[in-house]
Every structure is written in C-alpha cells, then in structure tokens.
C-alpha cells in the first residue's frame, strides 16, 4: 500500500487562505484548544480522553515485583503505547512509524523521565518488593494531535489511579483489598501537560494550538511543549520544521504557561467530580 495520499491542492490552498484570516475549519481561534472530555471507567486508573474526534484510552494497573538490583528503593513504571491502523488508516502495522517513535518518546519524557510519580513511594520493602505500574495507552482514533491527547490521558490515568494499601510487619506483607481499606493515590511530584503548536510555511500565518489532522498534515513544523501549572517546563520539542525566531519560541512558551493552568483546573475538577460519585459506592 502506498503512503496515504496528501491533501489535495484545493484543501491546501483553502486552509492556508483561511488561516491567514485567523479562521479555523472547526470555528476555533488559533490558540484555542478543543476542550477535552474525560470519561472514567469503573476501575481506578481507567480514563477515556477525547479531544474532538481524537480519542485515547489509558489505563493503569499495578502489581508487586522484585526491584532491579541497581535501584532497590524505587518502584517501576512502564508505559506501553502503540499506534495501530485502528486510530487512522494513515498508520500501518509493522515497522514503527515516525509518529509512533515521537509518541512513545514523548510519553516517556513527559510521564516517566520528568519524575511525575515519586518512585521511592512505590517501594514496599527495600530490595524485596516494589510496585510496578503499567500504563497502557490505546490510541482509538486520530483526528489530529494524538500526542497531546495521549499525554493528557496518561497523566490523568496516573492521577486517577489508587493503589491498594499495604501493611508491612517484619517480613509479612498484607495487601488490603479496596473493600477493606480505601486505596491510596500515587504520590505525584507534579502534573505536566503537553501542548502542540503547528506552524505553516507562510511565516506570517499565526501558529495554531491543538492542530486537527488536516492542519497537522499541512503544517510545516510542530512545536510541542510539556509543562505543569507551576511554570516548570518538562519537554520542549521542536524537531526541525520551519525555522522560528527565538522570541517566537518564548512567546509560545508563555502561551502554553497560561493553557497549562486552565487545563489543570479542568482536570482537577473532573477528577473531583468523579471521586465524589465513587465515595458513595466504596465505603
């Protein structure tokens, strides 16, 4: 099968022309993102995150393992993600596409390497037992900006997840079932969110936040910024694409600072809403 056909000439010309007038096809402003819809499943750490037609499902599960000899005091976090043709017919099975490499590396950087979860708090018995958290990201549909959606789903899943309480008495370890004792949330250092901006060949056209798939296909470069609401950058990634003035990069970073605060509020609110419904059931 040949590579997916690129957008037609009229589509390209029209998109560039309308972006010049700061009009987007879905009626958004250039720096407006699609409001994410977060749906929580019956299990803790199960999140369905939708931004427009882009949908990602993330789930966390934990189990006890023996820690690696190099880090006897730290828990383990692994992230599994894959882009299958299920998300969009543009993707093929087999060899990892560039998008998949970008996604996997970005999730790794944002969720694991930026120390979102306090790994030492996942230690149960030094050198003997630690928690191993598995975060699985399923990309259900890609209608543009899969990256931000997957990062958001991942971080929300981690925040939503609660691990069973564990009691250690000497050598004995008791894991309490959630019905006996309320499970406890993970100790998180911070909550990073990822924002992707698309640039277009005509440098006078403003950058757009959260590009749709057409915008993404026709863009001449993406700038992804991951940061938390405390103004700490975790990842800045602009791998090639149109050259930007350094001031423009700083301006976009400042835009992202504002967006991170907004998004953080939305996420906290949704998590609280969900938790309030759960408290009734559990007890």
């Amino acid at each position: 099968m040949p590579r997916p056909p690129s957008p037609s000439i009229p589509e390209r010309e029209f998109l560039y022309a309308s972006l010049k007038q700061s009009l987007r096809l879905d009626g958004r402003l250039p720096l407006e993102m699609r409001e994410p819809t977060l749906t929580f499943g019956p299990d803790l750490g199960w999140v369905d995150c939708a931004m427009g037609r882009t949908r990602v499902l993330a789930s966390v599960d934990g189990k006890m393992v023996k820690p690696t000899p190099e880090r006897p005091l730290e828990g383990v976090i692994t992230i599994h993600s894959e882009i299958s043709p299920m998300a969009s017919s543009d993707y093929e099975t087999g060899r990892a596409s560039d998008e998949e490499v970008v996604l996997t590396r970005m999730l790794d950087k944002v969720l694991r390497r930026s120390d979102t979860v306090d790994k030492e708090s996942l230690c149960v018995q030094a050198g003997q037992r630690v928690w191993h958290l598995r975060l699985t990201i399923h990309c259900l549909a890609d209608a543009g900006n899969l990256l931000d959606c997957a990062c958001l789903a991942g971080i929300v899943a981690l925040k939503h997840y609660r691990r069973p309480e564990v009691e250690v008495e000497g050598e004995d370890v008791t894991i309490h079932h959630p019905s006996e004792r309320a499970p406890i949330p993970l100790a998180m250092h911070h909550t990073p969110y990822c924002f992707t901006f698309a640039y277009f060949p005509d440098t006078t056209t403003q950058a757009v936040l959260d590009p749709t798939s057409l915008e993404q296909r026709l863009s001449a470069g993406l700038l992804s910024i991951a940061l938390n609401a405390q103004r700490e950058l975790c990842v800045v990634q602009k791998a090639g694409g149109v050259p930007l003035a350094p001031d423009e990069v700083m301006r976009i970073i400042n835009v992202a600072v504002g967006k991170a605060k907004e998004l953080d509020r939305i996420v906290e609110k949704r998590l609280q809403e969900d938790w309030s419904t759960r408290n009734v059931e559990v007890r």
Binding site: P2, P5, S6, P7, S8, I9, P10, E11, R12, E13, F14, A17, S18, Q21, L23, R24, L25, D26, G27
Partner: protein, 229 residues
C-alpha cells in the same frame, strides 16, 4: 422503517429491479432472491424499483454510473491514478475528457480535485473513471474542480445532500451564494466567495451528518445562527 442484518432475505421485487449498496442477488435460495450484506436501514424508492441499505459507512464501494469526487494521486502513462476513497485507486484515462485528443490533454497536477463518473466498477479490477458522457462526449459538468474546499462526510450524508428535498443546501444558499459538487463517495466540494462561508458550509454538513452531529432542520438553523455570517 425496517432494519436488516447481514444475511437476511429482503422482500425486494420488481420487474426491473435495481439493487444498491448492501444488497446481493442470490440464486440458490428458495423464497426470495435478494439478501442483505450489511446491517442498516432498508430503503427503496417510491415505485419499489430501487432498493438499498442505508448505514453509517464512510468507506466507498464504487458502483457504475455514480458521480464521485476524486483526488489525483499520480500520473501513470497516458492517464492518472485517482483516490476516490475506495479500497483501490481508480484510473482515469487522459482521453476521457471533453475535447481531449492525444495532443491536447487536460493538465491535471498531482493533488488536483475532479468531479467524475465511475465508468467501470468490477470487483476484480480497479475502478475506472471518466470526465464526460461517453455517448455525447460532452463534459456535463464533470472535470477538474478548481479552488474551493473539499468536505468529507459519511456516505449517507452525501446521498441526503443529493436529495432535492433536503433542507440544508437551500438553507445555506439563502444566506450566501455557493457552488457545490456532491460525490457519492462521501465528499462534497464547496466554493464560496469568502473562507468564512465555506467554513460555515463545512461545519453545517458536519453538524447535520447522521454520523456526526445528526441535527435536524430546526437545530441546524439555530446552529447556523451562531456562526456569525
């Protein structure tokens, strides 16, 4: 309204029966000879001549004589290969245009959009297109579509838009002048004076599409009012 599942027999009967998407003629079944191959709503024309199944599919299966909108993918020899959203690319001969000769062929670039008719659709061959009426050799509106924008929708939506009695296009046409070409392969080409009008058309189609917003006439009118045009 009747819904069918794949494999159900369909009571389609007419002296001059014509089967549309989702229906298959079978010979070795005793009572009735038409079977459904997809799930969906069974529909037929008022005179019971044409029958088809309406679903929420977005994947186009080419059928002869249907008008489609395609995008040129590559040149191949004397003609072009065209993406019409089907499983295989369609081929379009360089001479299948009004007034085309070996010396003067239309100048289509890779990425050009065109309005064409499926001239051959056989399950074992790649579909073929033509941009004229084979009898009269006149264009009849087929050919390259320049400018404008390509809106993608469900196949059902494109069939609805072709229905003269559907409310959407008259509603939009009353607000601003627009030019539209509808392909049965779930693609609608729109051209207006201003990008904001084209965006309005695109958003309305998305909103009315049963596979999208699924709005009815009243909701669509309300939605249009919020679009600032």
């Amino acid at each position: 309204m009747s819904f069918v599942l794949p494999g159900e027999l369909v009571p389609a009967q007419h002296v001059n029966l014509k089967l549309g998407p989702g229906l298959l003629q079978v010979s070795d079944v005793k009572n009735g000879s038409v079977m459904s191959t997809r799930a969906g709503e069974l529909k037929h024309t008022a005179n019971n001549r044409e029958w088809w199944i309406e679903g929420n599919s977005r994947r186009y299966v080419p059928a002869p004589q249907e008008s489609v909108i395609g995008v040129v993918i590559a040149r191949s020899g004397e003609g072009w290969r065209v993406d019409i959203g089907s499983a295989h690319f369609a081929s379009l001969d360089g001479l299948a245009f009004e007034g085309a000769t070996k010396r003067s062929r239309p100048n289509l670039k890779v990425g050009s959009v065109l309005y064409a008719r499926v001239s051959l659709a056989h399950k074992d061959m790649e579909p073929e297109l033509e941009c004229f009426d084979a009898q009269t050799r006149k264009a009849e509106g087929f050919g390259e579509l320049k400018g404008g924008f390509l809106v993608r929708c469900s196949l059902q939506m494109s069939r609805m838009l072709l229905d003269q009695s559907h409310f959407l296009l008259p509603l939009l046409g009353a607000r601003f002048p627009l030019e539209v070409a509808i392909g049965l392969n779930g693609r609608v080409w729109v051209s207006t004076k201003e990008p904001k009008y084209t965006i309005a058309v695109s958003r309305c189609i998305e909103a009315v599409d049963p596979d999208g917003g699924g709005m009815d006439e009243r909701a669509a009118k309300k939605f249009l009012a919020t679009l600032d045009i």
